[in-house]
Symmetry: C3
């Protein structure tokens, strides 16, 4: 009976370990992928709804956004980019006298390829954009598409974009490679 006590203690310690380390202690590929997929999705909502705070919060403090026309560096500059998009959009709405509701634009992500190495990850994914910019807002169009080349980093247990490069097949300056950028 005496012998069982240390074993019980060990058992208790083992039981106290997270089953699959959602808290970051020993995350699996599935744990990391789930967190990164959520980040990728939050990024899209933040972008389309021009939510500068949430958008910027998906990047590391020294993160960068490279979208073909140049590279924006640092969370603050990234925040300001989206805040300007929001302000411009609101100004346009305020000046609009058509009586038609604003059209919506939506980016989706698909085909998320992720390689994870400890607190670093490399991602590739497709994106595409649709909108209902028809006069009656009742028709939808596919507007553009391309892919992302991402570097991610885990900071204080949270996955963030270290660098997001956007390729857009519709714009000459943003066109991506013709060789597989994934693996």
């Amino acid at each position: 009976m005496k012998a069982i006590r240390p074993a019980l203690l060990l058992a208790a310690l083992l039981l106290a370990l997270p089953a699959s380390a959602a808290d970051g202690s020993r995350p699996s590929y599935a744990d990391d992928r789930a967190e990164i997929e959520n980040l990728q999705a939050r990024y899209m909502f933040a972008l389309d709804f021009k939510d500068a705070d949430t958008y910027a919060a998906t990047f590391a403090e020294d993160g960068s956004l490279d979208f073909g026309l140049g590279e924006i560096k640092g969370r603050q500059a990234i925040h300001d980019l989206i805040a300007k998009m929001r302000a411009d959009w609101e100004a346009k709405l305020a000046a609009d006298t058509s009586g038609v509701r604003p059209f919506a634009g939506r980016h989706s992500i698909s085909n998320v390829v992720l390689k994870i190495d400890g607190d670093r990850a490399t991602g590739r994914a497709y994106w595409f954009h649709m909108s209902n910019e028809s006069p009656d807002r009742a028709k939808s169009q596919l507007n553009a598409f391309g892919h992302y080349e991402d570097e991610l980093v885990r900071v204080h247990g949270q996955w963030l974009f270290k660098k997001r490069k956007i390729c857009n097949e519709l714009v000459p300056a943003w066109v991506g490679p013709t060789k597989n950028p994934a693996w």
Copy 2:
């Protein structure tokens, strides 16, 4: 030799525990997200193929579906909605003398944002719909898009929709907010 036996027993018990609780005992964010993503995907197949049984089975017994024109409450009423869609479709097909095969419509989900709190979850996601309703069925169009605002609940270890609200940017009565509905 005697001392090892209780320890072995404990070890056997520990080994019998699921590595990451796919059975619901201690699910991680990844476990929950995987189950919910599968639910979201099954919902889409059930909707497009007008499979009332499977569609209704993705909702909790007291679940509700709010699609802009009103809220359908309870699994039975939700079942009946899809069963009617199927019956109407079959009647239309039976009456069709064109000789052209039925066109297909397909909803996809993307950008799944999920916050999980024990047996409750809150979700946001995009959806979009395409079809080949051209006379020769050889052209495809993007028809509509919007987003979901979901409340989910785990019942007997299975994630289900507690409430799904559908926003559709093409239809005035269904249009969503212009502020980020996610986080």
Copy 3:
């Protein structure tokens, strides 16, 4: 003190076990789904970028690809199919004197439904294809859509396609069922 030693040994063994078996020893549904989603995404990049090596590597050695016009059997034959696509595309490019850059075509996967049973899995998912084959490469179109019916197998810890059947709603010979192919 003597009694604790076997218990410590067992504890060490237990601690050495992966938290959620990303290495394949006791994978959860989330583990398997994460690996298969990555496979599905890598398949798409390999297809669109005509990367025969990576494409073929997503299939089991005796895997098959059934795409409506017939079934291609074995990794080598699947490799050769994509290698020919690449060669044909390069020949077409070489012969092109328009001065316009090549258009891009992109397949996306969505609505991934997965049932996993040990080292076997059954999958259903939607796919759709878009391109910018307009003369100026500045407009995008949705070209086609359908669904996949997949059988997957884990070989040496890696998920691979055992059989992928492609249904395409735009082409009479590839059209899928009108009853829910998922569950």
